[in-house]
Amino acid sequence: MSENIIEVKGLTKKYGDFTAVNSINFNIKRGEILTLLGPNGAGKTTTIKMITGLLKISSGKIFLNGKDTTDTPDEIKKISGYMSQKFSLYPLLTPLENVEFFAGISGLKSKEIKEKKSELKKIVPENLLKIKVESLPPGVKQKIALFSALLSKPDILFLDEPTSGVDPEVRRDFWFEIYELKATGKTILVSTHNLDEVEFSDRVIILHRGEIILSGEPEKLLKEYNTNSFEGIFKEVIAENEKA
C-alpha cells in the first residue's frame, strides 16, 4: 500500500478570470495530521472541496492510493468524513436526531444507529441531548459535528476550520480528540487560520492567494526560520509572497 493516501497534482480552480487555487501539488500521508494554513480567501476550503468531490476541479489530478480518481470523486467520498466551518448540523434537530440522521444516511443499520446514539450520551450531557442544536453552545456543537463526521467510519477526515468560533479551552480539547483519532489510524486534513494550531500537526502547508508558499514539518520549519512561534514565519512568507 502506498505511503500517500491522497496525492494532488496541478490542482486548479478557476471562477471565470479569477483563480481560487492555482496548480497546487501536495500529498496526504496515511495516518498523519496535515494542516492547511492560510488567511481567509487563501483557497483552503476550495482545496478541501475539490479533493472531496464537492467542487468540480478546473484542472489537475487527484490520486487515491495511487489510483487516478479525478473523474470518479465518489471513490474519495466513500472513505471521507467531512466537517464544515458551521459544524454542518441541523439546528432544528436535537443532538440525538442529528446523529440518527447522519448515521442513517451513512448506511448504518438500526442496531448500529442505536449504539451510536448511546455513545453520544457519553460525550454530550444528558440534559442537552433532547434540545434543539441551535440552542447549544459552540463547543458542544463541535463535539456532535465531529462525532457525526465519524459515523461513516471514514479513513480520512476533512475538517474545514473546525475550531472557528470556539474558545481556546474547547480548541485544546478538540485537538486532544484529533490526536486520539490519529492514534486509531485515521488520516486528518485540517484547515485553519489559527497559527497556534500548527504545532499540533505533523505537517503544514501554507496557502496564500491560491498557491502553496511553504510546506514542511512544523518543528523543522521553526528551526529553519530560527524562531519559537509560527507567527513570525507566517508573516515573513506572506510578505515575501506579496512582494513577488
Binding site: 468531490g53 454542518s88 432544528l92 440522521f101 451513512s106 448506511g107
Partner: protein, 367 residues
Amino acid sequence: MKIYYLMKKELIEILRQKQMIFMVIVSPVFQLLIFGYIATTDVKNLPVEIINISNSRYSQEIINRIEKSPLFIIKKITSRYESPIKNMKEGKIKAAILFRDSFDRKRNPSGFPDIQILMDGVDSNSSLIAAGYFNGIINDFLLTEFDKKGISVAVKGKSLLRYNPELKSINYMGPAIVAMLLTVIALFLTSSSIVREKEQQTIDTLLISRLKPVEIYLGKALPMLFVGLLDMFLGVTLVVLWFKIPIKGSIFQLLIASIIYLTAILSIALLISTFTNSQQEAMFFAWFSMITFILLSGLYTPVENIPWGLRWITKINPLQYLMKIIREIFLKGNGMKFFYKDIFSLIIIGSITISFSLFIFKKTVSK
C-alpha cells in the same frame, strides 16, 4: 433505506417551525374560507337608482319586480329626470334605470317601450351579469303582459342550466381554489428546501454522504408530496363540508391527478431551490411562478378568453390542467375518459420538469 432518514429529517424540520405549521395547516384553511367568500362573481345587493318619468302601471310593475329581487337594492326612486351620473361616480349606485314617458303605450303608439339601463362598467363582469338580470326581468314582464292580452309570441326560449343550476360561483371557484392553494403551498415550502441546506452549509455534508443526488432530490420531494396531499385533503374536506359542494366524480381519480400535478410543481420548486443562493431569492422566484401559473390557469377567466398569442403558455402551465380536472370531477362527475388528455399533458409536463430539474440539481451539486 437511507432516503427514509432524509425524509424523516425533512418532516421534523417542517414540524419544528411554527411558521411552517401555520403555512401548511392554518393558512390553507384560512385562505380557502376567505377566498371562498370573496372570489365570487355572483351579483348581490347591487345599489340601483330608478328614474320613473313614465310613472305608469307598467313601469311600476317592473320596479316591483326589481324590488323583490335579492340581487338589487333600490337606493332612490324619482319621477323627475335627474342625471344619475353624479351618484354613480361617487359609488353610491352601480346601476340606473330610466323609464321615459314614452314607455307608456298610450303615449307611445309605436309600441316600443323606452327603457334605458345605465351600468357602472368598472367591474365589467358584474355589470354584464346585472344587465342580463335587468333584461330578464323586463322580458319576463313583457311576456306576462303579452300573455294577458292574448298576443302569442312566435319564439320562446328557455335556458336550462346543468351541473351548477343555481349559478353559484362558489361551486365553480371552490374546487379551483383548492388547486390554487396546493400550488402556493407546494411552491413556497419546497422552493426553500435545498437553498436552506446551502445557507446552513449542510448541503456539503449531504453531498459527501453515501446519498446519491437522486436520493437527495427524492428525499426532499417526497415529504413535500405528502404535505401537498395533506393540504389537498384539508381543502377538499372544507369545500365539501363547509361550502356544501359535493364531489360528483371519483376521489381516487382526483388523488391520481393531484399526485401527477404535485410531481410537476415540486420539481419546478426544487429547480428554483437549486439555482438560487438564498431563501429570499427562492421566495421571489416562487412568488413569480405562482402569479404566472394562477393568472394563466383559468381560475378567474376562461383560458379561451386569453389572447391567442399568450394562450400557448397555458399549454405548459400544469395548474391549468388540474383546474380543469378538479372542476370536471367536482361539478360534472366526469371520469378519466373525459380528461385523459389533461392527465396525459400533466404526465408530459411532470416528466419534463422532473428530468430537467434533476439534471440541473446533479449539475449544480458537482460544479
